[in-house]
Symmetry: C2
């Protein structure tokens, strides 16, 4: 039996009662720790809170299917930050379970996709979600620009998810076959805004105001006790200290008066 | 103190551990019971599971702000099925708390907005969410059609939320000033498909194939133990018995091979 369990967003106690029960019942507990991380609880704290060992599963262990090895004969719990189907790799595990005739179930939880509603912009007025990657010297993807433009033209809000780099190996170390991991990196709201404005400047099709005047909402550590939400023009948000990860950004579309009332609680100044 | 608490989707134990703690700490517990309902637990079962009375709050109590009355001096827990910001009315409560200087916080949970990922279609490939209403003799809204068309033209998937009518009063009883509630009604997947195809036939702009050949996914009781997910052409899904509420529908956009692998688990026949 393989149970995917969403942990939600904040700490060890954002798991659901049903999720906790499945953890207690499990023979083996893995924590998926490369597509996201839990804001206020380390793997050790999860172990302590749940009263059993939590094995950190990195990209290799998950993508190789290693985490399924025991699931034919044992109860395996697979913890995922947020909800369970935030990443294609988790869908892949469900498919493999079916192929290997392993019983599989999911216990859902909050993720940024729905928790973003706490900023006051209504979920049914969001368009397609975007993801920004860290740029390198040679790789500066901007294919998200068209999607942002489409959302904005339709008056829709856009949730922008910011890159996370965990257990990455530098090109140099990779070339030399050295398994040396870089320190984890989490994209900041200011970096995301810089990237968006740089692409707007280059493409010039008006997805956002090139001077940074478009209304946006910076959101840090959503769903945790230290959550921070600030609304204002993109240019002004660049200067806000949003503190530790995770950061997300919303580019507002047309703001309805009901949304405005709620969003106003978070205005800068 | 006013705490909005998401209940998630299935039963009383889909609440988070933090949410349950807030319920136990609360002096008064309300259940918002008109924008959705919990699939497998009645208000009485919630009371039993949480060990304290749960007061059902209908539209009048919520929209009048009655549920905030005690929150100035007491701890009020306000339970919402799914996540807490699924409806504008909940945003409004947050705004009123600020105006009345009542401390307010939210404890998030899963909602159909993110749990829909269990069908294998990736969340970041969904466009704007649609809501269908029950049609009446005189009122047949179809403004969602343009949004469906926009999503489909962009190759995006569309989550379609289906109407819920709880504690509604008929026009006749309303005219006579009689507070007689109609039995609750929950739109079925087949009704939603009929409505979409009827509008397609009338508008003829090809948001979906008018013969019902467009791939869709019917989803019933998502997040509960009796969850049912079936994928197939809209016309074929019309004939599937999806059982008791709640029902949702996804109109597929372009399906990526990774999505296809997962979605295939749910194909009709």
């Amino acid at each position: 039996m393989f149970t995917l369990i969403g942990l939600g967003l904040g700490d060890a106690n954002d798991i659901t009662v049903n999720g906790l029960k499945a953890v207690h019942d499990a023979d083996v507990v893995y924590l998926e720790a490369y597509t996201s991380f839990l804001i206020n609880s380390s793997p050790e704290e999860l172990s302590a809170a749940y009263g059993k060992p939590v094995i950190v599963a990195d990209r290799e262990m998950v993508e190789s299917g290693d985490v399924l090895r025991d699931a034919e004969s044992k109860k395996v719990a697979f913890l995922v930050v947020g909800d369970v189907f935030g990443a294609t790799t988790h869908s892949d595990l469900v498919v493999r379970c079916r192929e290997q005739k392993i019983e599989c179930r999911a216990i859902h939880n909050a993720s940024i996709i729905n928790a973003v509603g706490c900023c006051g912009l209504q979920l049914y007025r969001f368009g397609q979600v975007l993801s920004l990657c860290f740029w390198t010297e040679t790789w500066k993807p901007d294919s998200w620009y068209d999607r942002l433009k489409t959302n904005r033209d339709a008056g829709l809000h856009t949730l922008v998810l910011l890159d996370i780099k965990v257990k990455e190996i530098s090109d140099e170390n990779l070339a030399r076959g050295r398994k040396v991991y870089e320190p984890p990196r989490y994209m900041k709201i200011s970096e995301a805004i810089d990237q968006i404005l740089a692409v707007e400047k280059r493409k010039g099709r008006g997805a956002v105001a090139v001077d940074g005047g478009t209304l946006a909402v910076g959101m840090a550590r959503v769903g945790s006790a230290t959550q921070q939400v600030v609304a204002g023009p993109m240019q002004a948000l660049r200067a806000v200290d949003f503190g530790t990860p995770l950061h997300s950004l919303v580019i507002a579309g047309e703001v309805h008066p009901c949304e405005e009332e709620h969003l106003r609680l978070f205005y800068l100044n």
